[in-house]
Assembly symmetry: C4
Homo-oligomer: 228 residues x 4
């Protein structure tokens, strides 16, 4: 079932390791088949070195396991909130990548300082509020999804396809699992350069809106002219 | 004698190098066979490139060499204090890994800033006090073990399975040599992100206790639900 | 047409990736055949993993495509301004390399702090002014070239063969595509050490003029005595 | 002539690149045959990728070339001052390694903050004074050697086998070329951790003298007990 998507999700998980975003089992990628309404996600706590495409777990959008010999990633309820809320998302990724996690721990959004950021994220990458004790002690992983949705608000989630969850770490997403991982890689690189920028010049201003518009829109939307 | 444990300890030492925690001979891992009461440890100052499993040294818990053509690691007395004090420890590791050593040199504990930390360490990773001149000039390596034990106090050593020894560097431990090295790797990554967090936001708060509990306990103890 | 130059430009683009200056498609290198008045440049948004020498695009100095099945790099007009303005430039490169981009985002020139800098750059590596809204909304990539030329002023562009464009990133150049990439690599290394220097000692002075002269001139000009 | 030493010096130069201390041609290692009074050094500006053992240059202690088809490293006079002044030195190395160079640019000595430092350097690693204009415009490379000797003063150069030359970069030395490179690697690692320490805790104290003595002397001198 869903062999092609399982292969894609598996490859996207392995790409996390190749790009240096995860060590050990510290990350997970999922993808969705919108027609069937089924999500494929990495199993929980399985070593990247021995993991195979067939180990991916298939769930419906309510979290019922449809196929798979392993338990799905602990973070599955967060992924499901994203898929249930946003019909234009095709892949979701969670990591503890170093620089994005550092912003999450510092409780700071990642400001848009330049065109590298603007090429992919149309504005600051937000940091969520603290979860309440009730949210943490309740359905924690689902509430993590809810606070992401609350923070995104009315915006199109693909305009800024990543977020840092306070004291936790980054989630990123995209039109498919590959694109979600791509955005997670860019996120960490952008976070790293934002760190450098802020520690180099403590009074630095963000990129101005005109330049932000220019770079985002030359890559995205109807007037895009980057690429083939 | 203890061929299997010697192989494990050898592999764990080599893993230190693969993970980038040591250069040259700057680290050592040991393991214990509790039934026989024998410890296996890396020889002192032997190059990782030429070291073999059969070069590991076997000692009893009083430090008497039982087997081995080489002298054991200079830090052996520190390892022995750990094994003698804590019956639930199966492996010990010492490195000069960059970020944990930087906290040791700064004389600072590594604060729990997020879930990456909380997944493995149930609270701050402490920094020991200064050794006295008498301790340094006496049985230095044994006193290093003693100050680690003093700093851990009444706690279960596996709740926070690492420490930084002031002006020296990190020790980590675990249920076996592999797990000790795993904890040493996580320690350095957590220290690196703590450094980033503190230099990015000098007034940052630690992770709140509810979230710390949640993440530690979803991976550890009777109600754990992470993994397979 | 221009097979040799296409091979050189292709190799120079691949070298960007090998040296860690770019991820994904985040960079471009061009070269010029001065006799024919033709520029060869990387195609826009093509993956480094599948790109071939024959994919390079050939243009005249007005930007007309002479050969190539792909669209040229979006930044082509910036490259053309450089070639049209400076007859002694044979290669141009643009990246989002981490440290140089961090200075661009901080809006700071890279001060000459030592001999590593002075061996290649005869003085500070300047940061351009902000582009105006009209410049951004007009012929943006061409205006980027214009502001680089404005910043260089009356100087020989090969004396300081790199610049950081504010809130954007670095451009570097040289006598040919290889040399341009070489300068881009040195630029990022020099920027990294300038960052370290400035965060280590906030009141640091630049290298004195005598030492700057000594190192630049022992490698460049009629009295050079470095190398074979 | 001196085939064995040429091979050793060649290997030591290649090791600089493998350890990440140099890019391009940014470093040089030499070694001496004390009985013959001849020094072997890397040629100037030759690429590491194509360099061979037979390309090493042989000089006498006055700098006269005895054998070699290439010009010797530009920094040869600095090396010769070291060999002429200190009969117990067998190898000298110069690099622009990132962290040591950052201290050189900041004009700061590298403080002894911990045992990693104390295991190899018996006290702070000093930064030289500024060269005068006359020294720079005169026999610059020889004066660089002289200011190193002036800074070392009455001490045994092997007690602290490295230095940072202000606004320039590090020199390290040892009993042979291999040992000099080893010290250069340790130097950069120690500098990196000192940077981290100082930016993490701006009021940090150095390691106390008793611990510095303990670690240095357990590895060096008649009472050493580290290693086999």
């Amino acid at each position: 079932m869903l062999e092609e998507l399982k292969q894609k999700v598996y490859e996207a998980n392995m790409e996390l390791q190749r790009k240096g975003l995860v060590i050990y089992t510290w990350g997970n990628v999922s993808g969705i088949d919108r027609e069937m309404g089924l999500v494929v996600i990495k199993p929980s706590g399985v070593d990247y070195d021995t993991m195979k495409a067939e180990d991916m777990v298939v769930l419906d959008l309510n979290g019922n396991i449809v196929e798979g010999k392993y338990k799905p990633s602990t973070d599955t309820p967060t992924h499901l909130v994203m898929y249930n809320t946003y019909p234009n998302i095709g892949g979701v990724v969670h990591t503890h990548s170093e620089w994005a996690t550092s912003f999450a721990q510092a409780g700071l959004s990642i400001p848009a300082f330049g065109t590298t950021h603007a090429d992919y994220f149309y504005g600051d990458i937000p940091c969520t509020r603290d979860l309440t004790d009730d949210e943490i002690n309740g359905e924690y992983e689902k509430e993590t999804g809810n606070v992401i949705v609350e923070t995104i608000g009315d915006r199109d989630p693909l305009e800024v396809p990543a977020i840092v969850v306070k004291n936790h770490g980054p989630f990123a997403w995209g039109k498919d699992p590959d694109n979600a991982v791509y955005n997670a890689v860019v996120l960490d690189k952008v976070a790293q350069m934002a760190y450098n920028t802020m520690t180099l010049n403590t009074r630095v201003d963000k990129v101005n809106q005109t330049l932000l518009d220019k770079h985002y829109l030359r890559k995205h939307g109807v007037n895009a002219y980057y690429g083939q």
